[in-house]
């Protein structure tokens, strides 16, 4: 039943790679918009893994999960950008490191 052209491990490896790229992006970038973008990358990596796994097991669940993840990612980014607008208006900067008023 494994009519999948590409073996599952390659796919999982790809999504793992994508995931770590996204994670790195969140850690390194300082601008909030780019952080949001790298979160998108991470979420898509998970979606890809789901699709691969679904294909491997020949069940539609993988793709259902893919659609779910996309919609959730969209919602999160929407709220995120809303906040970005407010931050821009208030702090006139999008640099995440400025936001360290609470510590200790």
């Amino acid at each position: 039943m494994n009519e999948l052209a590409v073996p599952l491990n390659h796919l999982l490896f790809l999504s793992g790679l994508l995931f770590s790229i996204g994670m790195l992006g969140v850690m390194i970038r300082r601008n909030i918009i780019f952080i949001l973008m790298s979160i998108e990358v991470m979420l898509n990596a998970c979606a890809l893994a789901f699709v691969g796994a679904g294909a491997h097991w020949g069940q539609p669940d993988g793709q259902v999960m893919y659609v779910m993840i996309l919609s959730i990612a969209a919602a999160e980014v929407a709220v995120g950008l809303g906040l970005v607008l407010q931050i821009q208006r208030r702090f006139k900067t999008l640099d995440m490191d400025q936001a360290n008023r609470m510590r200790g």
Partner: protein, 615 residues
């Protein structure tokens, strides 16, 4: 007819409590009558008791209530009265009454008059309980009660902290002795199951043969207790300092009654001591050494009361010597006579101090013979008795001791020679005191005369010191009859002549000044020796260095709780950890992401490590 025996100790106790509670409302005369009267009444009752006892001489044993009953341990508050108790009680109440009368005038102008008599009466009550107790625990109650009253009385003038320190020293040194005695009590109860004196002596004789180890241990512990209370060698340093109290107190406590408690204890438990001869030799040796050391020290003293204090230590040394050689009757006899003449001497010195507005140094006195006749004659008779000159009571008692010491089994003669040396020294220092204070040129003049309340006790005590020798103690039933025969003549002759020679020597040295010891004193070793004797053979220094200073040092070091350091360290580690962790909370989000990622990698690594291990 003897059911009033409990009244004797209770009367002084009640008067002491009323004085304590009502001190603010009672006038001086009321206080005096209450204080002196209660002891007087006790003396009268003792007299009546003595009268009955002489006619029907069997011991009285009255039990009032069981003090505490826990399993087999059930000491009771009970009195046991026999010949020995009679002697002690008559000394306590008789001499006590005279001293109370004397001090009613001596302390006339002291502002806490009631407090003085309260303590004094409390002391007499405690001493009577000690003597009357039928079990060692009740005796221990009297024992500590007496020690406490001595602490209160020595520290009577508490305004000067020096007196306080002397009082504390007295209490603590005696407390060390008492603790040893308490341990003795513990051993006794564990071995014999009872603390009642009569039963425990019988049980001991049944349980152990002569020469066993445990009786030796018990006797040594009891000896330590006795040594503490009677100021014998290891624990004697407190008595000279205890002179800080009023003189009648020294007369009553540090001459007649309390210091003899140790002798009474050993006399009362002689059954135990008979079981271990080596313990008795220890007692004898301790007695002898103490009498010699104290006699030498007395030679070098300036303060009139310290001379008498050291002479008391020396005389009690004699009593211990007597007990050590088994001469129980002689020991108790000397105890009685010593109470008479030593009280006389102390009261005499009290009279002198009273009249010379608190002058203590004998070299500043002099030529008082003509101006204070009563005091002079009482001092003369007292010193004669002390030196054991013939015809005085001291002669009979000390002579008896020396004779029986001579006949002691193995080291008899050595003890006898030591005793003689002590007698010689006693004669010298007692008459040195008399010659310096009463003869020679007068450099101070008494500013007042002694009243009748001070004169009568002196006169009565003079009489007792003289005729005391002829009393026969009703103690035949108490002690085993010592059957040793009379030693040969020359021993008797020597022990009689030594004191006379001593007095003559004192005359040469201090009055006639024919023999000039000048070259001896000025020489380097002479001066060191005089200083050595003056400071009581440096024993006080030794105790300070060995015990007192280290205790102070440890207390000051450990003042701020070393154990707390451990708990402080826990608090400090917590606080440093808190500081470190809260520094990590930088507030920057990227820091948080990094910690999350580390957490994830850690988690993954751990899982893979397990899987790699498992597969």
């Amino acid at each position: 007819m003897t059911d009033y025996i409990w009244l004797i100790p209770i009367l002084p106790l009640i008067s002491s409590i009323t004085l304590m509670l009502g001190s603010a409302y009672l006038g001086r005369s009321v206080i005096a009558t209450l204080g002196v009267g209660s002891v007087g009444l006790a003396a009268v009752l003792t007299g009546a008791l003595a009268y009955n006892f002489l006619h029907a001489p069997e011991p009285i044993h009255v039990v009032y209530w069981t003090w505490m009953q826990v399993g087999q341990f059930d000491p009771s508050i009970a009195f046991y009265f026999d010949g020995l108790t009679l002697v002690m009680m008559s000394v306590i109440t008789g001499v006590g009454f005279l001293i109370h009368l004397f001090s009613s005038e001596f302390m006339e102008h002291d502002n806490s008059y009631a407090r003085y008599f309260a303590y004094l009466n409390m002391f007499v009550a405690a001493m009577l309980i000690l003597v009357l107790a039928d079990n060692l625990l009740l005796m221990y109650l009297g024992w500590e009660g007496v020690g406490t009253c001595s602490y209160l009385l020595v520290g009577f003038w508490y305004q000067h902290s020096a007196n306080g320190r002397a009082a504390r020293k007295a209490f603590i040194v005696t407390r060390i002795g008492d603790t040893a005695m308490a341990i003795g009590l513990l051993v006794l109860f564990t071995e014999l199951g009872t603390l009642n004196i009569q039963d425990l002596v019988a049980a001991a004789q049944a349980k152990w043969q002569v020469g066993d180890v445990i009786p030796l241990l018990i006797c040594v512990l009891l000896l330590a207790g006795a040594a503490g209370k009677s100021a014998q060698l290891p624990l004697h340093t407190w008595l000279p300092d205890a002179m800080a109290g009023p003189t009648p107190v020294s007369a009553l406590i540090h001459a007649a009654t309390m210091v003899t408690a140790g002798v009474y204890l050993i006399a009362r438990t002689h059954g135990l001591f008979l079981l271990s001869p080596d313990a008795m030799t220890v007692v004898a040796v301790v007695g002898l050494l103490t009498s010699l050391v104290a006699a030498f020290t007395a030679l070098a003293q300036h303060d009139i009361k310290r001379i008498l204090a050291y002479s008391t230590i020396s005389q009690i040394g004699y009593m211990f010597l007597a007990l050590g050689v088994g001469a129980w009757t002689a020991g108790v006899f000397h105890l009685m006579t010593h109470a008479f003449f030593k009280a006389l001497l102390f009261l005499g010195s009290g009279a002198i101090i009273h009249c010379l507005h608190h002058e203590h140094d004998i070299f500043k006195m002099g030529g008082l013979r003509s101006r204070m006749p009563v005091t002079f004659w009482s001092f003369l008779i007292g010193s004669a008795a002390l030196a054991a000159l013939p015809l005085t009571s001291g002669f009979f008692s000390k002579d008896l001791i020396l004779l029986q010491a001579y006949q002691q089994a193995n080291i008899g003669p050595l003890l006898w020679v030591g005793g003689l040396g002590g007698a010689l020294l006693t004669a010298i220092y007692s008459f040195r005191l008399v010659f310096i204070v009463f003869f020679g040129h007068a450099n101070t003049s008494p500013d007042r005369e002694i009243g009748w309340r001070m004169a009568i006790p002196l006169i009565l005590l003079c009489a007792l010191s003289l005729i005391g020798g002829y009393f026969s103690l009703p103690v035949e039933k108490v002690f085993p009859i010592d059957d040793n025969q009379h030693p040969d003549q020359w021993v008797e002759l020597v022990s009689i002549s030594i004191p006379i020679f001593g007095v003559f020597l004192a005359y040469l040295l201090f009055l006639g000044r024919q023999l000039d010891p000048g070259f001896l004193i000025e020489s380097a070793s002479g001066r060191w020796l005089k200083q050595f004797w003056y400071s009581g053979w440096k024993i006080d220094r030794l105790y300070d260095l060995a015990l007192v200073n280290p205790y102070y040092w440890i207390a000051t070091i450990a003042r701020n709780e070393p154990v707390d350091k451990f708990y402080q360290s826990i608090v400090i580690t917590n606080q440093t950890l808190n500081a470190a962790l809260s520094k990590m909370q930088t507030g920057r989000m990227r820091g948080y992401i990094v910690s999350m990622v580390i957490g994830l990698i850690g988690f993954l690594g751990l899982s893979l490590f397990f899987v790699a291990g498992a597969v």
